[in-house]
């Protein structure tokens, strides 16, 4: 799998300016980000399919018919398999398993990472040392081979089991990032103030620290979901999880084992793969949205070319802010000119 999509490397001292805005406006601003909006819409689409997929599927995904290995047609939108099964129905029905495992594993891993990361960062000392060592060990051990081996050891690994195995092995990245951020929050004035007024440790963590970790927790969750979906599909593809339950990996498993490639049956594995890629892209886009929301500098800024008052066209770039006539200029924090830009 690829490296975790999130690039939040914790410690964002510039962050509080965002946090100061009223909650409602903040939420709207996140959705207004085109990347996040696109991602959320696609994700919502897949969630809907996951719920209604089995009902709207035109055929029973396992039902055989006499149309063997047919290319896509009006009757079978995505073609058929070697047993005459309808691939469109398989993709629709399989969405549920993929989303279920992805979200459940994401929830399990996120809960663990919050628990371990925040307590390590907040408690400090020996607890921190041992919890960080634990998460580093899990980070370094290659997760996918471990998941493959554990899942193949458990007899009849169903969706629930697979989700738990993935969730229990992939929390380490989130824990590490959360620990770093908690460390930087722990000594902030408002936390010290809360401590001085005698608030309990539990309340400080839930009311003072956690709200400021929301973005990181969210991005960790999305990253884990991506990883979980990929792992689950991989497990099904190499034939470990039960192949009686349909998901996109199962389709690819059959396509591979029945030599779909050699028979030129591209329709057998293209739809499932594209569905995975689109879901993965949507989740990554949400994560970019979160990243840019937390650290505005990362925005690739829609209009990079601007017209100045005196009619010149300038390109916005780091360390350079042209003097514009209108009030709409972006609030770049640093105003400075480099030698060649000034010329």
């Amino acid at each position: 799998m690829s490296a975790p999509a999130s690039t939040i490397t914790a410690v964002t001292p510039e962050g509080p300016e965002v946090a100061a805005a009223p909650a409602k406006r903040r939420r709207l601003r996140f959705v207004a980000n085109p990347k996040a909006a696109t991602g959320l819409i696609v994700l919502a689409f897949f969630c809907v399919i996951a719920v209604i997929g089995p009902w709207i599927a035109p055929y029973d995904p396992s039902a055989r018919s006499s149309d063997l290995i047919q290319p896509p047609s009006g009757k079978h939108w995505f073609g058929t398999t070697h047993l005459g099964q309808d691939i469109f129905s398989q993709v629709l029905v399989g969405t549920r398993g993929v989303m279920f495992v992805g979200l459940l594993a994401g929830i399990v891993a996120t809960a663990l990472s919050v628990l371990i990361g925040v307590s390590a960062g907040f408690l400090g000392g020996a607890a921190d040392e041992s919890l960080s060592a634990l998460s580093n060990v899990f980070l370094v051990i290659p997760a996918l081979p471990l998941i493959i081996i554990v899942a193949s050891t458990i007899p009849s690994a169903g969706d629930l089991m697979v989700a738990l195995v993935i969730g229990l092995t992939s929390w380490a990245w989130g824990a590490r990032v959360l620990r770093a951020q908690t460390l930087s929050l722990r000594r902030r004035d408002y936390v010290e103030a809360a401590r001085a007024t005698g608030e309990t440790t539990w309340r400080i963590i839930t009311a003072e620290i956690m709200p400021n970790l929301t973005a990181i927790i969210a991005s960790g969750f999305v990253g884990t979901v991506i990883f979980a979906v990929m792992s689950e599909i991989t497990l099904a593809f190499i034939g470990i999880s039960t192949i009686s339950e349909w998901n996109w990996g199962t389709i690819l498993f059959w396509a591979q084992s029945q030599q779909a490639l050699a028979q030129g049956a591209w329709w057998w594995f293209v739809p499932a793969g594209l569905a995975i890629a689109i879901l993965g892209t949507a989740l990554s886009l949400i994560n970019f949205g979160i990243d840019e929301f937390v650290s505005p500098r990362l925005r690739s800024s829609g209009h990079t070319r601007m017209r100045t008052k005196d009619g010149h066209t300038v390109r916005m770039r780091v360390g350079f802010t042209p003097v514009l006539g209108s009030k709409e200029q972006p609030a770049t924090p640093v105003v400075r000119r480099t030698k060649e830009d000034a010329a």
Binding site: S2, I233, T304
Partner: protein, 326 residues
């Protein structure tokens, strides 16, 4: 030096943890896998081999858990990983010895190349933010969301096939005998082109993105302004001032995500039937070959640990602050 020693201590600890996990996993298998194997190969197994398997699977009823653990360590240090079920009666260590060089060559080189290419593109994309290079980001995001193995399948359909220069499976021409001559090496390189390109395409985007984001952050630092103000050439500011500092987190990120990457690249081997560890894992899973699976997990984990150590040494060379302490 202190930094390096700390890291080595940590890797030893991790290796211990991985071996211990490896010790407990087979104890979760219900039933008695060894008995079924003995029945399958009745009479062909030596008493010694049977005993070795019993120790490996924790079915040694006479010994306590602690005794089993000690025996297990003894076996690991002797390099005795048991006998493979699928390739009976070849020892697991021999199978891994054959396939490991293939995986290291393919995965090692492509992972490194992908890091280098991705980082360089990330430097450019971060420095010239808002240029056409930003258009690269959505494309690479999409490519990285595709599972490695699916991209491999696609590559085989589109590029391999009769009359194509890209073979669709295997590590070398079936007729050749592995040796260090020109013909064999040429054939091996030809066979590895398609898997290598697949891995490169799907893993490069992560590096582009993280390097771009680091560059954007570093580019607004004061020392960059100072460098500009001194009138240094743009190129020099970009490479020696911005990229050099932005590289550090990327190198430590590289070390941390090796585990993820290696897991994914193993699947490419499955698709291309490449004679490496990943393909072995596929065979082992299909045949419920537990000793082979365990051996593979151990080898992969230890390789990742060694790669991590090398990344740490690179970090040590790049960042003077870590050297100063010792």
């Amino acid at each position: 030096m202190k930094f390096l020693l700390q890291r080595i201590a940590f890797y030893l600890f991790t290796a211990w943890a991985a071996l211990t996990i490896n010790f407990f996993i087979p104890r979760m298998i219900p039933g008695d896998p060894v008995t079924s194997l003995i029945n399958k190969f009745q009479g062909q197994m030596s008493t010694e081999a049977i005993n070795s398997l019993y120790v490996l699977f924790g079915l040694d009823k006479d010994a306590s858990l602690w005794g089993q653990y000690v025996d297990y360590w003894g076996q690991v240090f002797r390099g005795d990983l048991g006998l493979s079920f699928t390739f009976f009666p070849t020892p697991v260590a021999d199978i891994l010895g054959q396939s490991l060089p293939w995986t290291i060559a393919l995965v090692g080189i492509t992972t490194f190349a992908s890091f280098m290419i991705g980082t360089s593109l990330g430097v450019l994309a971060g420095w010239r933010r808002g240029s056409w290079l930003d258009g690269l980001l959505p494309v690479t995001t999409f490519l990285s969301s595709i599972p490695y193995f699916w991209l491999g399948l696609l590559a085989i359909t589109l590029l391999a096939g009769p009359g194509s220069i890209f073979p669709s499976s295997g590590g070398y021409e079936p007729g050749l005998v592995p040796s260090w001559n020109g013909e064999f090496i040429g054939s091996a390189i030809q066979h590895s082109l398609l898997p290598a390109v697949t891995i490169l395409i799907s893993s490069v985007s992560g590096w582009i993105l993280s390097m771009r984001n680091m560059m954007v952050t570093v580019a607004s630092e004061d020392y960059i302004t100072v460098a500009h103000a001194k009138g240094l050439p743009e190129r020099r500011v970009m490479v020696s001032y911005a990229a050099r500092n932005a590289l550090l987190p990327n190198v430590s990120g590289f070390a941390l995500s090796l585990g993820f990457i290696v897991g994914g690249t193993l699947l490419v081997e499955i698709v291309f039937s490449y004679p490496g560890i990943g393909y072995n894992l596929f065979q082992a899973v299909g045949a419920k070959d537990y000793p082979l699976m365990q051996g593979i997990f151990l080898v992969i984990t230890l390789s990742v640990l060694v790669a991590n150590l090398m990344a740490d040494i690179a970090y040590l060379l790049l960042d003077p602050r870590t050297r100063k302490e010792g």
